[in-house]
């Protein structure tokens, strides 16, 4: 069974935010308003954050989403098992089980779990824009990046229909698919021949806040030589 992981090469990343838009449309993440943004309640599963990275003096814009930790602090505190680590390493979120206690949003050191303070709304004319593969989260539950898990399910169904094994090429999240600078690489970290595994083992690789022992499966490659 694959262990899905993502490598983001910060040397290639241009902070263009194409990934942010791709994610928003793919996962039915509602639009914000100036008021919600000012209240710190901007809904976005992937967002640029300014961080000091190793061996780079100036702040770097780091695309940050759920780090899909192998030791996720959020799952330990969930009283209803609404969030858990699935066998393929994706930190899953079962919305109907979520009681909105927000323990997980507090436990997550990356602050990438988002609570729905309001019922998500789209203008009437925009209803068809929503991706039918992804459910819209109601008010009162927590949501976050799922590595576009619905794409994995579709890819698996397709592979089954074709009578073949699922391969890494069958499945990429929306952010990786669109990245103009080809800075994102996705695949099976357990396959030593995969590009993602090779890059994750590079000397430039680091994991954000890895000192906390969360063992993220999102790996960044630092800028510079």
């Amino acid at each position: 069974m694959a262990r899905w992981g993502l490598v983001i090469d910060l040397d290639r990343c241009t902070a263009c935010q194409a990934c942010v838009v791709a994610c928003k449309h793919e996962n039915n993440v509602p639009f914000s308003t100036p008021a919600t943004a000012a209240a710190g309640r901007l809904m976005t599963w992937i967002q640029l954050v300014a961080v000091e990275t190793p061996s780079h003096g100036a702040p770097t814009a780091l695309p940050l989403m759920c780090q899909q930790c192998d030791r996720p602090p959020c799952t330990d505190v969930c009283p209803t098992s609404a969030t858990y680590l699935n066998p393929e390493g994706i930190v899953a979120q079962i919305y109907p089980r979520c009681i909105g206690c927000r323990y997980c949003t507090n436990a997550c050191p990356y602050a990438v779990k988002l609570f729905n303070w309001h019922t998500p709304e789209w203008p009437e004319s925009m209803a068809p824009l929503k991706n039918p593969d992804v459910s819209v989260r109601p008010k009162g539950v927590v949501e976050k990046c799922t590595f576009c898990h619905h794409r994995l399910m579709r890819a698996r169904e397709q592979a089954r229909a074709d009578g073949r094994e699922l391969s890494s090429e069958d499945y990429v999240p929306a952010c990786v698919q669109t990245c103009p600078a080809e800075a994102m690489v996705f695949g099976d970290l357990d396959d030593p021949n995969s590009e993602v595994a090779v890059l994750a083992a590079s000397s430039r690789a680091f994991r954000w806040m890895e000192e906390l022992g969360t063992r993220p499966k999102v790996v960044y490659l630092r800028e510079g030589e």
């Binding site: 241009t14 902070a15 194409a18 100036p34 203008p123 068809p128 824009l129 669109t178 103009p180 600078a181």
Partner: protein
């Protein structure tokens, strides 16, 4: 146009326009109705169709995911040589405009005073008759009509030009920030009537003079990918980027080194570097001799005028840095000097000369001459002579360009005196809000496309696609409208418009392409093929047996491409011409650096910059783009101001907090981003315009940067301001 309207009050009334007009509600109902029609099948059937992104001149190929016939998401078209399956933020956001709840439902005429927002829906017959009657009364008198649109190389743009010229119009085109902006200086140097094409991907060292490489340079998506590969490609060393720019832009932050030099002084640094190369004899003179006539004169002029000390004094760049840049350039394997598309002609001349000294022409990681496009504009007729009289009728094709057009000096007064202003935009945006007659055309997803993408690869391309979804509202095809109006007017106009529709026009273009027996439909093997073309000429894919079949294959793939180009074309052409001559370098400027008068009340020099994603009228109907503004440091949904740490200390603010920016004519609240290395005394303000007529999301932007100064003043030069903590 008797009602007095100034730019300021039209902006004010604009807000009321949307609120009072019923178009928005009707639009919502109609889109919902179209949705119901599509939903009646409710099979959840998924389909993919190709289209062309029209958010900028790059014209990237896109794939549209349709569920039950309704667009759900845009992705890059993997077959397109420009996008190769990728898509930028703006391109993806285009689908939001299709679903804009404030879209125009059909033609309308203004019935109240200007800007009052009182519109009346009318029939297409009435709308086209209104325009035709007014055009008849101008009787083709030269200069009575002004037609404005963004420049594009396409059959539709040709028809637009021909029709309006036949009506005696002056046709105004705005140029995008593409390689086309460099065409004139490139042709003056090399004698080649085609765009320069910069091979950023294969360069090993790039010295950029203000080129917004990671923002939107020439063909933005292409450049982004080229940048990624320039930085990291297996089998070769990491590319190094040095950015010379006044502001610490995104590119400057991303660069390995940022050298702060204002735009008007960058030319001095270029010649300073050239002088070092010549003085230290670091160029291959023998290799240059067949292609350059005036090396000796140039050397004499440059080495005497641009001594390192003088260059350092004029630019603020230390002598040691000038020497290092020159030596780094020549020691790099494949150095490349690039410039912003809107760089001054002197800077373009200087940078191209430096490229030639470095042997960058016709080599990988250097500059190639793009092949002249297979499509050449059929520009029949000429602009009517400018009699100085104000136009009576003004027509806008791309209202999104209204903002940049509005900075042309004669447009704004003309808007106040014209009898009839017509907008062809599908949206109720700024141009539409000053119009008397709205003739909404289809949106990109509902349209036929045939357009030559902005130059980015040396080969040739034409993006071609069919509509991916039928029109949701009572909009019309642009060519159809022009044909109807031309036939009503008769005379030269009717003769100029021979095409009944865009479909016919694109069909004809497909037949022409098939008949060239060159190139073929967009293909995934493009890259491999392109590399092979370096060695052998001509490429023709037998996609189908018949020309109709080939046309169909092209439209299905999303476009036509011919990767063939003549390797070594620049040198060959220069050899034919007996070599080129570098223009004489300018005299070292001696004027003081600050072109703005500062005083004790307004002691700071404020520059403005346009953030990525705001170039289409503040993206009034693409809410996601407002969320991207200023990330990761500033608050989204509004303007932000960049301060040096020293300036920030004087008012005791930190990144994320707010300041009041005050000029002599107004004030504005903006969030703060502190930028290390920014010169003290200089502040940079993001140009995020309030667009009160631009739909519900645009109306959320209430802090208009234009309250600080007139838009043209903001765009052309610094403004004296002061800041205060909020």
């Amino acid at each position: 146009m008797n009602d007095h309207l100034t730019r300021r009050n039209f902006l004010f009334y604009g807000g009321a326009a949307v609120a009072g007009v019923t178009l928005g509600q009707v639009a919502r109902r109609q889109i919902a109705w179209a949705d119901e029609r599509a939903a009646s099948r409710e099979s959840g059937e998924e389909r993919w169709a190709v289209s062309v992104c029209r958010e900028c001149a790059a014209s990237c190929g896109v794939q549209v995911r349709l569920i039950d016939g309704r667009p759900v998401k845009l992705e890059g078209n993997p077959l397109c040589p420009v996008s190769r399956g990728r898509l930028c933020a703006k391109g993806q956001a285009a689908v939001e405009a299709y679903y804009d709840p404030d879209r125009l439902t059909g033609p309308a005429k203004r019935i109240g005073p200007h800007g009052s927002g009182t519109w009346q829906r009318i029939s297409w017959e009435e709308a086209t008759s209104l325009l035709a009657a007014r055009l008849k009364s101008t009787a083709g008198r030269p200069g009575e009509v002004l037609a404005v649109a963004a420049e594009e190389t396409s059959p539709a743009a040709d028809v637009w030009q021909q029709v309006w010229r036949a009506a005696g119009a002056r046709v105004h085109s705005t140029t995008g920030a593409t390689a086309g902006r460099l065409r004139e200086r490139w042709a003056a140097l090399t004698g080649i009537a085609a765009d320069p094409s910069f091979d950023l991907e294969h360069a090993s060292y790039v010295l950029s003079f203000g080129a917004p490489v990671v923002e939107d340079w020439l063909s933005p998506l292409w450049t982004q990918r080229a940048f990624g590969r320039f930085r990291r490609s297996s089998g070769r060393p990491r590319g190094r980027l040095v950015q010379v720019e006044g502001r610490k832009s995104l590119t400057a932050r991303k660069a390995d080194e940022w050298i702060a030099v204002p735009a008007d002084r960058q030319v001095v640094l270029v010649y300073g570097i050239a002088a070092v190369l010549l003085r230290e004899n670091r160029i291959d003179r023998e290799a240059l001799r067949p292609y350059l006539r005036n090396l000796n004169d140039f050397e004499q002029a440059v080495t005497t005028r641009f001594t390192p000390d003088e260059v350092a004094a004029a630019t603020g760049v230390p002598v040691v840095t000038v020497l290092r840049l020159a030596r780094d350039l020549v020691s790099a394997e494949r150095p490349l000097v690039i410039m912003a598309a809107d760089a001054s002609r002197e800077l373009v001349d200087a940078a191209l000369a430096l490229d030639m000294l470095l042997g960058a022409f016709d080599r990988p990681g250097g500059i190639h001459a793009a092949t002249p496009p297979v499509f050449t504009p059929q520009t029949a007729g000429a602009d009517a002579p400018d009699t100085g009289a104000a136009p009576r009728v003004i027509v806008f094709r791309d209202s999104a360009e209204f903002r940049s057009l509005a900075t042309t000096p004669d447009l704004e007064p003309a808007l106040n005196t014209a009898d009839l202003v017509v907008s062809f935009s599908p949206f109720l945006d700024e141009a539409a809000s000053v119009a008397d007659l709205l003739l909404p055309t289809h949106t990109a997803l509902e349209s036929w496309h045939a357009v030559v993408p902005a130059t980015c690869v040396p080969g040739q391309m034409m993006a071609i696609a069919r509509p991916v979804t039928p029109p949701a509202l009572e909009t019309r095809d642009l060519i159809e409208i022009l044909k109807t109006v031309s036939d009503m007017v008769g005379g030269p106009m009717a003769a100029a418009c021979t095409w009944p529709s865009s479909e016919a026009l694109v069909g004809d273009q497909l037949a022409r392409l098939a008949a060239t027996h060159r190139g073929g439909p967009y293909t995934s093997i493009y890259e491999t093929e392109w590399m092979q073309q370096l060695e052998r000429g001509g490429w023709w894919t037998a996609a189908a047996a018949t020309e109709e079949g080939i046309g169909d294959a092209i439209a299905t793939a999303g476009g036509w491409a011919d990767p063939y180009f003549e390797a070594g074309q620049i040198r060959r052409r220069l050899a034919e011409l007996g070599g080129c001559s570098f223009p004489a370098p300018p005299v070292l400027p001696s004027a003081p650096l600050s072109p703005v008068i500062l005083d004790s009340l307004h002691p700071l020099q404020m520059e403005t910059f346009v953030p990525v994603g705001v170039n289409r009228l503040g993206s009034p109907n693409q809410p996601v783009l407002f969320e991207l503004l200023g990330q990761p440091e500033a608050r989204p949904w509004g303007p932000w101001v960049e301060l040096s740490p020293e300036t920030a200390r004087t008012v005791d603010v930190a990144t994320g907090e707010h300041v009041q920016v005050e000029s002599a004519s107004g004030a504005l609240e903006a969030s703060v981003v502190i930028v290390e290395g920014m010169p003290p005394g200089v502040v940079a303000l993001a140009f995020v315009p309030a667009v009160p007529t631009g739909g519900r999301w645009a109306r959320e932007i209430v802090r208009d940067v234009r309250s600080l100064a007139r838009e043209d003043a903001l765009r052309t030069g610094p403004v004296a301001v002061r800041i205060a903590r909020v």
